[in-house]
Assembly symmetry: C2
Homo-oligomer: 786 residues x 2
């Protein structure tokens, strides 16, 4: 929702404190803009105190009358805006304007002004008090205005203590990512703050300009007018204006050049560069806030920046929205206290707090005894595999070459990351492979679950389909809860047929002479990268049960039975699917589990591999050689751990929110619920172009009808490309937004943060619905696109 | 250098601004501490203005005369301390007290006081002005006092604008990691700041207490005394005192419990848990600053916290010292602007700036065309291998199974990370292996270089040693520059014998039927994890030359010849060895290179893999399937990129520093230079217990005489364990510090940051020297240790 125009230069004025000369220096800026023959807009979004003393009145009086001035919210009591708003609202606190409404009204004013002028024009948006003075709702201004992401001018404090006030205010702006284009303050010969601040900010790339204090107020109003006018005439804002215009132009030039330069310098992940032909194929992200990117568009007639909904949750990482101030502060706190510190045989508070939380009050409760830290889901899975294979080798007494010929048991369509070890735990299917990829193991073709024309249906692989009756695979009602009701389903005929099939397959594998299976590796409930496949949880549960029942080792104290079981919860865990962990839904504990992505709230990489004590004990001896010889330089880095702690704390709060309770209600309060509307899901699954739909928690997967299918299919991309148009399905959304989404062949998926507002989700549903109605998504365009 | 005592509770008082009532509320705290029968210390480190109005005088007057008050630096002019110090120094600016001297004087006072009391005692250290008011040297207080890491009390601002001032001051404290135990301010019925701030800080776990304003000053001094005393009597600081004491106790309890809890919850990397027997085997890191950890020691009689030099640079990551404020601010800036945003086919400023800097003004200049981002050295190497193997396969026209049977050429002792693919590029030697490790390729036994009794010597593997004369392997002088002079050495007889040996070996490998070699993978100059082996650079250079001369492919437009050459510069690059890159020393460009560790200044994980255009082109087509299908969730995360940009900027400055120039001078200004003193190196290499020594840049490796050797040897640990004693070799260091170091079997290594002060390095040299002199490092202790 941030704004940038070619013809209209907009700056937001923040003060290092109240009473530092914000209005005076802004008036001088306005006069200088006018003198340069620009059309000038002055906005005071909130004004408190007597109207005749108001800042916009001062501007009208001392700058040109041609200046457009506006105040959006005016209160006559001279107190902080949040108190004024409270007083005005009285008992009806719902009357207090929300942050969203407030910011939208500023956006609307800026947009109207931009349309009303042909430029060149300047706009100044003057805030109230200091950077952290509360706005109407009580949210402080730096946070409240943040979605606008306007470049700022900081008015410094020239008084005793003003060095500190100015630097702290700057740091509060910086913590929200604001660009500070200039620092202005009064020149004080005694305290000489500007002398100190000029080199201080120069080192940070920011110009400081100092100006004479205004003259004392004369008791004679007429004389006052004259000396004030004289004072303003004496201020030379020329070089400040040059800096501001230069910064504005540089920013546009920078954004403009970024697509080409990026196409020249980057090697993007999972991108075929041969298909990136035009600069407009590159998404330029200028900033991000809540669920939205602010993206640059060269061709836009209006603002060069426009909001785009991050509907892939930035590769499934976003949790509480982008640039969440609490996560920024958590990162800063840990960086300031520790930086990164050595971890082997050492400890620090953020890591210990995180480990204990995960073990005792998180997905490791009741089964895990240890936390191993690494950097991402892929490395976390490599650690998990090393743990499982070693635990198996030790218990089975394997030595030498026997340890090398081990494989894993899993499901087709699984994905555990892009490092070779993680790849080797997956079947080699389709194009996702590479030179050293050497799939080691056996993978079952799993039954999957989806909603087709409103009804949950289990699709069985052909080997199982023959013997199944429709009643085995079709839900008795339209409720997906049925699918996830393990206790009931374990008694069904389908469960029995799964059991038989799995047992027989394992029997024949043992005869086959293939690699010895040494671990069971699963993405519980949903295989994400494999195509957002919602696996029948009953099949996974029965698979685990069967494997554990086939323990052939001599009786021992060890806890794991059959094979060590690894849950890859990197994508599915920590409420991505609505539940903290998939463990309660499947009703069995793993021996090892891996978490990443949401773990750090979508800010920085960090992964954990948790293990039960029986796995851990396989590595414990008096011999250094048997230790788990794995570690990354930044293992358990304090910034990641502290951000994870803050994330888990905030998620706990979110999981009790009204929005979640309402969504759960709509889905009948079962463990299988979704933030997406059940009516929308049903309708979507009945559309002609749609083959099937499925949802859990924040995730919505839509499979298109497409004969080709597979990873290289473009059908989902083609059918949904209207989502790139912000006007599609934008009935009730302000400001209109486009949608970033990702596809996996003929499957499009959409994913929200855990705290995405119901309004945003409804708007996205409306847009998806409209896009899929569109007649233009036809064969002709498909051909053009491919 | 931070301080914590059981019997002495110390708090530092910061103000949200000047004139917010810091001294008044501190006086009230002092009185309350006295009333609770504690011995009370009050320290005003710096006081400016008239002595009779000084804060310590106020304390003396209104608290008990038994309170110990002290002021360390007093100036009579009522201006900011930095101006007062400048005025007092006049033209002799060197008279201005340095930050180190200033902080040491505070440490010394606190330690003296702690020794002088048996407690229970409280101490208050009152700062001047606001949090960012400059101290004596001009460094602002939050940064200047940071090494002390005292728990803080923030005095909030109760005036108009005070909400903002208080929150911003808090955020500046938080950016330095300070613990804020309490916020105190005056209660103001009109502005009601405390009403706003109480829930605001409660959400952040901080208690706010508000107190009545002091009465107006009476013109009658006697009356003034009476009403002021009355006022102080009316303030109830009981609950604040309880909070402060509780926090103090909680902190000690927390530190005390951390070793046990960590032993129960963590699975440490590269640690044999069976050997971690006692709580004191666990290093509890309470905070870190510059080159020092602040570690907790239960048994200490003095401060429970003591400084420990991070002499492994926290696994080779530290660059500019821990908790560098510029890196914290860079992380905060990016987190506040973007959080993390989706990267495939997208772009953002921090990533683009970093890529362009590395390509055009960094180690990629002249050869690299693309930057691929991943999370750590290991994943960066997996990407490099995928690139090289594919480029080879494509150019050689390999298909199907032929692509799977590829190997790499490298050196024995190499290490590229702990994910399986990176491990597979290394020989399987010794204990560093795991179940799925399947080494693919051939590894030469490399000649190495070390200093033995003062003279650089090349140790040849036996196959080469037979034919070599002493003049081939012994430096003509004691200068290591000789070793790294490639142009001269390429003409020598040794170079010729390397050439012949390598060619013949490659010939016979081609006949052998082993895996087809598809990439040359090297850690240039030093193989770190393999035992800090300084490889003869001539051998690496000749190896590259020979490989490139054997290009058997049909002539093509491609640039790479023979095999794609990968430089793993994760450890050796970005000035760790004194040079930005090893490329100019070896005198040849790689086709692919990997950087991590120093890249992000030792704060958060990030890695880059750079590639030449000819490598990149192997993946470019119109078919999505041939793209490099590799990517991590947090690819090119903005925080990491912004921290990397800041790091590279600061390194550039550091590389011009006086300290570096002096060190280079000592080493004869060759490309091979070290921050370690050449005289020390020579002397060390002549010690009885030492077999050989080598150094480059920040790195010092010391190989002990030990028959056993290898990864599981403890000899280096045993011989150097006196370094854990802060008193050893501590002649001139204040405060004394212990040393954290790591060993690789019989090799101990020490590593500084790029900006570690010469004083600290000299002190460490003194300590190493003393430890190795010690007679107590005897067989008896070795036995006990193992």
């Amino acid at each position: 929702m941030s704004l940038l125009f070619k013809h209209l230069r907009v700056h937001q004025i923040f003060g290092a404190n109240t009473d530092v000369g914000k209005t005076i220096l802004t008036t001088a800026l306005v006069r200088a803009s006018t003198a340069l023959r620009n059309e000038v807009f002055y906005l005071k979004p909130i004004s408190t105190g007597s109207p005749q003393d108001a800042d916009d009145e001062h501007i009208k009086q001392f700058a040109s009358p041609k200046v457009h001035t506006e105040c959006l919210y005016r209160f006559h009591v001279p107190v902080s805006p949040h108190l004024a708003a409270q007083m005005a609202a009285g008992d009806e606190s719902q009357k207090i304007v929300s942050d969203k409404t407030f910011v939208d009204s500023v956006i609307s004013y800026v947009n109207r002004s931009a349309s009303a002028t042909r430029g060149p024009a300047h706009m100044y948006v003057e805030t109230a008090g200091g950077v952290h003075s509360p706005a109407l709702s009580g949210t402080t201004q730096v946070d409240c205005y943040r979605p606008l992401f306007l470049p700022t001018i900081l008015i410094g404090d020239s008084r005793l203590g003003g060095i500190s006030a100015t630097i702290s205010a700057y740091e509060s702006l910086l913590l929200r990512g604001y660009m500070v284009d200039s620092v202005l303050l009064f020149r004080d010969e005694y305290y000489r703050n500007s002398e100190y601040l000029t080199p201080y900010f120069a080192e940070r790339g920011i110009d400081v300009a100092a100006f004479a204090h205004p003259p004392p107020v004369s008791p004679d109003p007429r004389e006052n007018l004259a000396i004030t006018d004289e004072y303003y005439k004496s201020l030379d804002m020329g070089s400040v204006q040059r800096v501001l215009t230069e910064r504005h132009q540089q920013r546009i030039d920078q954004l403009d050049s970024m697509p080409r330069r990026s196409m020249d310098a980057f090697w993007w992940p999972f991108v075929q560069h041969g298909l990136v032909k035009n600069e407009k194929d590159v998404t330029v992200i200028d900033s991000a806030s809540n669920d939205f990117f602010s993206i640059y568009s060269q061709s836009s007639q209006d603002s060069l920046l426009s909001p785009q909904l991050d509907s892939s949750a930035s590769w499934w990482t976003q949790t509480l929205g982008h640039s969440h101030p609490s996560l920024t502060l958590a990162a800063a706190r840990a960086a300031g206290r520790y930086g990164h510190v050595m971890f082997p045989q050492a400890t620090h508070e953020p890591a210990l707090k995180l480990a204990e939380r995960l073990l005792h009050h998180g997905p490791g409760r009741n089964w895990a005894s240890r936390v191993f830290f690494s950097d991402d889901g892929s490395t976390g899975m490599e650690v998990a595999l090393k743990m499982a294979l070693r635990a198996y080798s030790v218990r089975m007494g394997l030595q030498g070459i026997d340890r090398k010929n081990l494989g894993v048991l899993g499901l087709k369509g699984s994905y555990h990351g892009d490092t070779i070890g993680a790849m080797d735990a997956c079947a080699e299917e389709g194009v996702y492979t590479c030179e050293w990829h050497n799939a080691k193991g056996f993978w079952f073709d799993p039954p999957t679950i989806s909603i087709q024309t409103g009804v949950p249906v289990i699709s069985l692989p052909s080997v199982l389909a023959k013997a199944a009756a429709p009643s085995d695979t079709c839900a008795p009602s339209d409720s997906i809860a049925w699918v996830y009701d393990m206790p009931a389903r374990l008694e069904t005929r389908l469960a029995q047929s799964y059991r038989t099939y799995i047992s027989q397959t394992l029997d024949s594998l043992e005869q086959s002479g293939g690699p010895r299976l040494a671990a069971l590796v699963l993405e519980p409930l949903v295989m994400g990268a494999g195509g957002m496949l919602f696996v029948d949880p009953l099949f996974q549960r029965v698979l685990i049960d069967v494997v554990r029942s086939r323990d052939s080792a001599p009786e021992s104290k060890t806890d794991w039975r059959g094979l060590p079981v690894i849950f890859d919860e990197v994508f599915v865990g920590l409420y991505r699917l609505g539940a903290e962990s998939t463990i309660p839904i499947l009703g069995v504990n793993p021996d090892i589990s891996v978490h990443a992505k949401i773990l750090t709230g979508g800010l920085v990489p960090l992964a954990v591999t948790m293990a039960s004590d029986s796995i851990f004990q396989a590595f414990v001896s008096q011999d250094k050689a048997t230790a788990l010889l794995h570690g990354h330089s930044y293992t358990a880095h304090a910034v990641g751990c502290e951000v994870a702690n803050e994330t888990l704390k905030l998620i706990e709060k979110e999981s009790q929110s009204a929005a979640w309770n309402e969504a759960k209600d709509k889905w009948g309060n079962s463990a299988a619920w979704s933030l997406w509307d059940p009516e929308f899901i049903r309708a979507l699954s009945s559309l002609d172009k749609v083959s099937e739909v499925m949802t859990l928690g924040t995730v919505l997967a839509v499979k298109m009808k497409d004969a080709k299918g597979g990873y290289v299919s473009h059908s989902a991309q083609t059918l949904l490309q209207d989502l790139k148009n912000s006007k599609v399905g934008a009935k009730n959304t302000y400001p209109p937004f486009s949608v970033h989404y990702r596809t996996l062949g003929n499957v499009a998926y959409f994913m929200t943060s855990l705290n995405t507002s119901p309004e945003t989700i409804r708007a996205l549903e409306e847009k998806i619905w409209t896009a899929l109605q569109s007649d233009s998504a036809d064969e002709e365009r498909r051909n053009r696109h491919i």
